[in-house]
Symmetry: C2
Subunit: 241 residues, 2 copies
Amino acid sequence: MTTAADPAAEPSGDADPPTRRSDARVRITEAAMDLFERQGYAATTVDAIAEQAGVARRTFFHHFASKDAVVFPDHEALVGRVSTHLADSSSEPVDALAGALRIVLTSYLADPDLALRRYRLTRSTAELREREIAWVQRYQLVFSRYLDVRYADVPQGPMAADVVAAGLVAVHNHVLRQWLKRGGGGDALGELEEATAWFDRSVGLVQRGHGPRRIVLAVFDDDVDPQELVARVRDASAAPR
Amino acid sequence: MTTAADPAAEPSGDADPPTRRSDARVRITEAAMDLFERQGYAATTVDAIAEQAGVARRTFFHHFASKDAVVFPDHEALVGRVSTHLADSSSEPVDALAGALRIVLTSYLADPDLALRRYRLTRSTAELREREIAWVQRYQLVFSRYLDVRYADVPQGPMAADVVAAGLVAVHNHVLRQWLKRGGGGDALGELEEATAWFDRSVGLVQRGHGPRRIVLAVFDDDVDPQELVARVRDASAAPR
DNA sequence: AGGAAACGTAACACTGAGTGCAGTCTTCTG
DNA sequence: CAGAAGACTGCACTCAGTGTTACGTTTCCT
C-alpha cells in the first residue's frame, strides 16, 4: 500500500514540465479537504490522505504538524501579518485594530469557496471547532497585548484592553459568520466597517483621542433662531476633540 | 504491572469500612495531578496514572473521556449550573449574567489550591491551554444565546449579544487571572462585583431598562441662578429612564 | 432471602496519530 | 560535473483512545 512515486494525479492541463517544487503541500490539502467532506473528518485517516495525494504518510507530517492543521494551513502566517500590521500602525488604537480585522476578513474573502468548505467542516466536527477557537484566541491575545500598552494610563486599563480585544474579535466573528451563513454573498467588508464604527460609538471604553467623553452644556436665549441652534449643535458635535 | 485490587492507598483515617463506591475517580485525579506536576503533562502516560492510582488502564477511560479531561473534571456540570441559573433568573440581563460569573468564580475560589495547581499546569502546557479555551467558549456561547433573546428588538441585537457575552467573559477571566497570578489572595468576588459594575457603566450596549441613551438639551436664561442650574442638572441625571 | 439488574472494574486486542531516524532522490549552485 | 541542501520515503516505535467480553459487588425488587 501507499504506492509511492505514482505520477497519476495531474488533472490541470499545464503545458510546462511538472514543476515538482512543493506542490505536494497543495496536493495534500486538496486530498484532505476532499476526503473530509466526503467521508467526514474522523473517518478519514492520514494514510488515506497521503495515498490520495500520492505521497508517503511521513511526508504529510513533514508539511503539517497534525491531522487538523491541514484544515487551517496558513493561520500562523496570518497571525504574523496581523502582528506586524499593529506594530507598524501609528493611527488610533481602535482604527489600527479595525485594520487588523480587515486583514483577517479579507483573507477569508479572498477564497470564498475554501472558506465555505472550512465552515461546513468545522460546523460538523467538534475537534476542528476547538482548534479554530484556539486560533481565534491567538488574535485576541495579540489585540489585548497591543491595547495593554496604549491603555497603560487609563483607570481600568488592563481590563479594558481585554474587554475591547474580546469585543472586537466578537464583532469580526459575527460579521464573518453572517457572511458564511448566507453562503458568501454581500459586502462583508462594508459590514465590518459599519460594525467596527458601531462598536466604536457604543462602547465607552475606547478612549479615542484623549480625555473623558465630552458633555456639552449649551445655554441659549429662549428666542434663539431654531436654524442657528441646529447649526451650532451640529458644529459642536462635529468638532474635533 | 498494574497490580490491581491493591488496597494500599487510604490515608484518610476513616473508621467506617472502605466504602468503595467510586473513590477510584478521586484516586485517578489525584494521581494524575501529582504526576503531571512532577513529570510534566506530556511525559506522563495514562498507564502511569492508572498504575499510581491502583486501577486498570481501561478504568481511567471509564471515568474520563481523555487524558486532558482529568484536569477539568467538573466543568461540564458547571456549564449546566450556569445555564439553569440563567434560565431561572428573572432580573435584568446583565445582572443575571453577573450572577452567572459569580457562580463560576466561586467554584474556583472554593478550592484555591486545586485552582492554582491547574493554573500552573495550563500555563506550561499548550494542549491544556487549548482545552481550557474551549471550555471558556462554552460559557460565552451560553451567554450569547441568552442575550440573543433579550436583545431581539434592539438595532444591532445579535451582534451586541456576542460583544457583551465576550466582554463579560473577558471581565471574569481578567479578575480570575489576577487572583491566580497573586497566588489566590484578596477578595476576588468583590473585584468581580466592581468589574461587572464598571462594565455595565462603560459599555453603552447594555440596554439596562429600555430605550436608547438619553441626550438632554437644556435651555436656560443666561442669568440663571447657578445653584438652581446645578440642582436641575443633578435631578435630570438621576431621574429614572 | 433470592434473584436480577446496574454498575464499577478488569483484561485483551485493535486502530490510528504522531515521532525519530536513517536513507534516497531532486534540485540548485559553485 | 560534484557536492550541498532540502524534500521525500520507509520503518519501527510509543501512546491515546475504543470495542468487547467477562467478573465481582451493590442495590433494588418481588
